[in-house]
């Protein structure tokens, strides 16, 4: 019983950074960007968060700085998007860059490559008077700090946001940029805010790892949580209602893998569990044809990697959208926007 409650508790804690990454990925995807830079945002958040927290001796300031670090990377993506940079290639570069930058900074200024452990207490857990003394509930809520609860609140907030006018506009921009632009919606600005918000959220997820849970930073601390977050968002079909369970699948898979190591299951087998779950999730996404189409659309929006050049005269729109709504089907080719180019 006790072991099971401990398992739940560690599952929740391991879910938290994945949940933040998944929310970030979901917001980006809904705005029409395949955001593969989440890993770098999580790592940047973890690194900047602990540095600032240690410097200011205040964990909250550290978390805010982490959000800022993530937001800056988001801003960079948005800016690159406007310039027409291939976001997929840029994201891969950013992921490598941030990892190596943290290694470089640690080696040069923080005295070592492995671990940076400043004199800092991690964020204390929230204690609920009355609840924390109860037998099952107490251990279940142990070691859960405010970032964990922020994650849950954020899910609700995003779900509500998608029901506001701005949220509807974000979805329209992501799904049909030409339609959004012709309705007078600011496509580029909407994308920019979505990417900044996603960056900040992923950054907080990173801060949870360093400032929130352990009070130290290790090399490559994000440890693929950004990627797993992207997978979780895909598994949740980018819907807020499913994002928590989807992130939970991976968080609890990690918890299970740790637990199984303690009862002498070979480590190389248990460590496969989270990645195996991600693999299964991606297969599921691949089987469902509408998710596959969504993903293809995101890729088209975000990357220029093609075997061949696209149409010479893309539709005149500010957001360089790839295609008209799928429902319109095959159009008769006509003089539409072709006349003047003969």
């Amino acid at each position: 019983m006790n072991a099971f409650v401990d398992f739940l508790n560690s599952g929740i804690r391991l879910t938290t950074p994945i949940l933040f990454a998944a929310i970030a990925s979901m917001i980006s995807a809904r705005a029409g960007v395949l955001n593969l830079a989440i890993e770098s945002k999580v790592l940047a958040g973890a690194f900047v968060g602990i540095l600032v927290a240690a410097g200011a001796q205040n964990t909250t300031v550290g978390v805010v700085a982490a959000a800022g670090a993530g937001a800056v990377i988001g801003l960079l993506l948005a800016f690159a998007d406007r310039l027409g940079v291939d976001l997929v290639v840029l994201a891969i570069g950013l992921n490598i860059l941030v990892l190596q930058l943290t290694v470089y900074l640690m080696r040069s200024y923080l005295g070592g490559v492995g671990t940076f452990s400043p004199d800092l207490d991690p964020i204390p857990p929230i204690v609920f008077p009355g609840l924390s003394e109860l037998p099952v509930v107490g251990p279940l809520l142990a070691r859960l700090n405010w970032i964990v609860y922020l994650g849950f609140v954020l899910v609700v907030l995003v779900a509500l946001f998608f029901r506001t006018r701005s949220g509807r506009h974000l979805i329209a921009v992501g799904e049909a940029p030409i339609a959004a632009a012709s309705a007078g919606l600011p496509v580029a600005r909407t994308r920019l805010w979505a990417l900044v918000a996603a960056g900040a959220i992923a950054g907080i997820g990173g801060a949870y790892l360093s400032v929130g849970d352990l009070g130290l930073f290790t090399r490559n601390m994000s440890g693929d949580r950004g990627w797993i977050g992207i997978t979780a968002a895909l598994l949740a079909l980018n819907r807020p209602a499913f994002i928590l369970p989807a992130a939970g699948v991976f968080g609890f898979a990690s918890a299970a893998s740790i637990r199984l190591q303690q009862i002498d299951v070979p480590a190389n087998l248990t460590q496969f569990i989270p990645q195996g779950a991600a693999f299964v999730a991606l297969v599921l996404v691949g089987i469902r044809s509408t998710s596959r189409d969504d993903l293809t659309r995101l890729w088209r929006n975000s990357s220029r990697l093609r075997l061949r050049k696209r149409l010479r005269n893309p539709p005149p729109d500010p957001a360089r959208a790839s295609s008209a709504p799928s429902g319109a089907g095959s159009q008769t080719p006509d003089e539409h926007d072709r006349t003047t180019h003969h």
């Binding site: 979805i171 919606l185 149409l311 539709p315 180019h341």
Partner: protein
């Protein structure tokens, strides 16, 4: 909106001019035009005569070099689309601008959603759209998801969107190009109803019958100028076609008489499931196509025509039945084998099936015959032959604006179709499958296609012509069959049937 009886026309264009220095094209030379309140003006002309550029000037996509735009008598400056919308202009493009996962109401009110306690108020949105739909006579269910709607209804959503933005002048760009005949009839009725509410409509098209049905006035453009401005009923189709093209057009292709020859293509007992787009499949379809013959397949789109053509072309398996060419069985053959047996296929969808828009003209021209000796030796492409073939195709078929090495995506519909037809007729095929070969083309290109098909027939081909245009079927065919709900009715001899009789069969699947 009530009918305003103002003196000033809703829209007046004075001496508009637009020159594209990059391509050296004077797209709009000097256009003056008036559209009165509550008037439907059809703007017709061949592809590339500046109709779309003119509308782009109105919508701020391009900016005029000279001239004035007046709305309700006031000169206006239109910098972008939002300016146009603010001035009461609404545009329905050929490519719909809808969010597929949103409902009708959510699309119509995109950008001006009603709110309740900070959240989007879906119920109110649906009420508003339902009210607007009722006012304007555009019946629709506001709660349906747009992705689930047929094309004709999606177009209605686009029109409602413009009306929700308070459009007093609606511009419809080739609105019937994507519609089935019955949807097109509905659209004509809707446009007339809108005009009755005092809204003005500019209807861009090059289909003369529907223009005659919908418009109060018909404005003809050629080479960037207005060459005709006629009240409805003052011009016959032939006169309009003459204005558009600037020369006499063969609206009826010549069918040189002569007995049909030996049997070529034989289909018997063909059964197939429906297409994904909701066709009707095939139910025990059988016929024989002879040499020196055009067999026309009439019928409303989606009654199994696509399934039939694709089954013969090897693109779709049959559940039962046989296909053979000159007695050699082709049932279940690959498209490559069907082609090498001598069956050419002019696909209905030239943008996606007939051509690869991202490939160059020469690659497209040779794409169906790479394996033949015409274009390869020992598995290596003979680029010189391919280049020469492409150059000859451009010259013979007058493909304008093309070069062998440029991608074909930038060409207009008529020129794309010329490439397809040039390729398909080049390998001296025995049978030509022509599926909607003139859909979306202007009068001049239609004439070209008709002449090419007639020439193939003269040279001994059997042509299986599928078309939703009854006039085309009647003009070209030696024998005519009708597809109805997956069954083939007929064929009849050309002289056994007329328009009325075929129309009845198309509508009911049998004669009265």
């Amino acid at each position: 909106m009530s009918i305003v009886s103002s003196e000033a026309p809703r829209l007046e264009l004075r001496g508009l001019r637009k020159y594209f220095p990059a391509s050296g094209v004077l797209a709009v030379a000097d256009v003056s035009l008036e559209v009165a309140v509550g008037e439907v003006v059809a703007l017709i002309g061949e592809n590339g005569t500046g109709k779309t550029t003119l509308m782009n000037l109105l919508f701020g996509v391009h900016h005029a070099d000279a001239g004035e735009i007046l709305i309700d008598g006031r000169p206006v400056v239109i910098r972008d689309q939002q300016d146009a919308i603010a001035n009461g202009l609404g545009m329905v493009h050929q490519h719909f601008e809808l969010v597929p996962s949103f409902t009708v109401a959510q699309n119509v009110l995109l950008g001006r959603e009603p709110r309740k306690r900070g959240l989007f108020d879906n119920a109110e949105a649906e009420r508003r759209v339902a009210r607007l739909a009722e006012e304007t006579g555009l019946a629709i269910d506001p709660s349906r998801r747009v992705a689930d709607l047929p094309i004709g209804t999606q177009q209605r959503v686009e029109i409602l969107k413009a009306l929700a933005a308070d459009a007093r002048l609606l511009i419809l760009d080739e609105p019937t190009a994507v519609l089935t005949p019955s949807e097109a009839d509905e659209l004509v009725a809707m446009v007339r109803a809108l005009a009755a509410t005092g809204r003005s409509v500019v209807f861009i098209s090059h289909k003369l019958p529907e223009v005659q049905a919908v418009a109060d006035r018909i404005v003809v453009m050629r080479k960037g100028r207005v060459v005709g401005d006629l009240r409805r009923g003052n011009a016959s189709d032939a006169e309009l076609a003459l204005l558009m093209v600037g020369r006499e057009v063969l609206l009826v292709a010549d069918r040189n008489e002569g007995a049909a020859g030996r049997p070529l293509l034989e289909v018997s007992g063909a059964v197939a499931p429906p297409t994904d787009e909701g066709g009707s499949g095939l139910r025990d379809v059988g016929f024989t196509l002879r040499s020196h013959e055009v067999l026309g397949i009439a019928g409303v789109s989606g009654n199994g025509q696509d399934e039939l053509i694709e089954a013969i072309a090897g693109l779709r398996p049959l559940d039962a039945g046989q296909v053979s060419l000159e007695g050699v069985g082709l049932t279940g053959s690959s498209p490559a084998r069907v082609r090498s047996a001598g069956i050419a296929h002019i696909a209905a969808d030239r943008m996606h099936v007939g051509l690869n828009l991202d490939a160059s003209l020469e690659e497209n021209a040779a794409s169906t015959a790479y394996r033949s000796r015409r274009f390869s030796r020992w598995g290596v492409v003979r680029k010189g032959l391919r280049r020469r073939f492409a150059e000859r195709l451009i010259a013979d078929y007058e493909v304008r604006g093309a070069s062998p090495t440029r991608t074909v995506g930038s060409l207009s519909g008529g020129n794309l179709q010329k490439i397809v037809i040039g390729r398909e007729l080049s390998g001296s095929p025995k049978v030509v499958l022509a599926n909607q070969p003139t859909r979306g083309l202007d009068v001049g290109s239609i004439e070209f296609v008709h002449r090419a098909l007639s020439a193939a027939r003269r040279d001994g081909c059997g042509v299986l012509l599928v078309s939703a245009e009854l006039d085309e079927i009647l003009a070209l065919s030696d024998r005519i069959a009708v597809m109805y709900n997956g069954e083939l009715i007929g064929p009849y001899d050309r002289f056994e049937v007329d328009r009325e009789r075929l129309g009845q069969i198309m509508a009911r699947g049998k004669e009265l």
